[in-house]
Amino acid sequence: MTATTSPAPAGTDPGGPPESAGSRPPRRSLRGPRRAGRPVERGASRVFRWTATGAGALILVVLAAVAVFLVVKAMPALTASSGELVDSVSFMRNSSSLADYVGPLVFGTVLAAVLALVLAVPVAIAIALFISHYAPRRLASGLGYVVDLLAAVPSVVYGLWGAMVLAPLVQPLWSWLGSTLGWIPLFGGTVSPTGRVILTVGVVLAVMILPIITAVSREVFLQTPRLYEEAALALGATRWEMIRMTVLPFGRSGVVSAAMLGLGRALGETMAVLMILSQGFLYSFLLLAAGQQQTIAANIAAQFPEASDMGMSVLIATGLALFVITLVVNMSARAIVARRKDFSGAN
């Protein structure tokens, strides 16, 4: 793959004078076994190698530092007694302890992300199929680029759009849902007159995670062995049957990991939630009522600027919880992708 394996001459004489390039360097029997292994590097080459390796290691250090510094700054909140916390942190007035404060936030975060996922995954799979198997080949990359444009829009713009355009637009739809399907617990309660509820947030988050799910699924769908597809078509399958029999089973794990990547992104999204959602601190499944849920990320952004020292510590502790959740989600997504890579060696 890389050049280190091939050039034995360069290994024995790195940076040697150009005249030695044409003729083979004299065989030195002592160096024999060594040449077969790692080439010897001197001077600048060695410095460069170690600089590059150091940069690679730095990535690991940074990731570790993120965890360490968050833990360090969260320590005061983690070790303080509940009473002390409730007294000193203004926004914890209604909670009895740190866990009691974090709980509803974690719930809200997961609820918003799952809503987004439920809305986004079917659409994303369909778009990926459209680009990979339905659209004319010449158009396909252009269409992919158009979907990627959705990812280029900054989240604050989505927040602005969601709060000022989408929320008033979908409010009538939500009232209709509330009045006709109100017997389903999810749509119960008083429908918010502003439309700034978690379902609207879910829609906006779904739009935001659509590009990443689409991009990964598309890649996987395109990798379906052509022979399978052609075999299915040759047996008389329609295009949809071909997709159902070959493309979808082949791409299942890829789609799962794409969905988890999307989930990871939705969990950490701040601005759209902060600007759209009317917040509350309840374990509530009411999707259409105002003042029910809040997410960790949006809560941090809302409280951080005015927080006291201990308040910041509490918020960093909630951020640590978010970090751990997204880390677990992302690592499992990547693990699925990596495992898949081993299997699809045939391509």
Partner: protein, 330 residues
Amino acid sequence: MAATPRPTAVSPTSPSSSAVIDPAKDLATLLRQVDPRRRRTDRVMRGVITGAFALAMLPLLSVAWTVVSHGVERFDLYFLSHSMRGVYGGIDAGGIYHAIVGTVEITLFATLISVPIGLLTAIYLVEYGRGPLARAVTFFVDVMTGIPSIVAGLFAYALFAVILGPGIRMGVVGSVALSVLMIPVVVRSSEEMLRLVPNELREAALALGVPRWLVVIKVVLRTAVAGIVTGVMIAVARVIGETAPLLITVGVADSINFNLFEGRMMTLPVYVYRQFQQGLIPCSADDASCIATITYDRAWAAALTLILLVMLLNLVARLVTRFFAPKTIS
């Protein structure tokens, strides 16, 4: 393909009777026929899938339309060249100059941190990396891509709070937060570009006796430079719209601040949020100079500026690839 709407000339006729007329043609027609239920499913799914694509275009078009149509009202030279210093209430004034200064400085500094680290890591992964360290780096770069931006902000804050004491707000903290988000993107894209460089080039250079580090710099990087620049610009475009980490590390300001290392700064995304958050201005009925929706107008105009900036970066990145890519990589 299989469901091509064939005029059903030989509908459910018995194969034996028509076989007498023209066996080959008839068999072909028969084979091409799909029973109606299956054909209907195929049609429906085609409609659903095409419809899903159209559905996804709606928000994109809606966002683009609203941002442009609301944004152009206040988007002018005055808006771009004035700060918010001394602007209060609903007066018809105020701009984003201070926010542009902040965004450009903070993003540039973040790029300055991220590009060397990201590029060297990519070089490590492509040119030297093997064994457990390389595998760990690859895996954790992927994991790092998924760090929520607000957590990156908290990290930068915590880092500087431990070193310099709590309550610190300055531009460079925001740059550090952004570079945490930017490094993995730079690594990924540069790595891809470096892998595209044909091995023959490296081997030829090494065979000529060029030392390894010069091969990397003069041959590999030279060949991949267009792709790397593109990747960096796309990474910049991605972090330039980040709001949450800047909100908690850099804070907000109304005046121009050129100093990254002291005091709060304004940035474009935070400006949009700030204006939105201030909401409608309560105007007295007889005050003609007071505009109730001024904050929203400013937010839309700043959002337009931000989107134009992102699109410009993306466009230039594409042009760089198109015009500067070496001919071997097509």
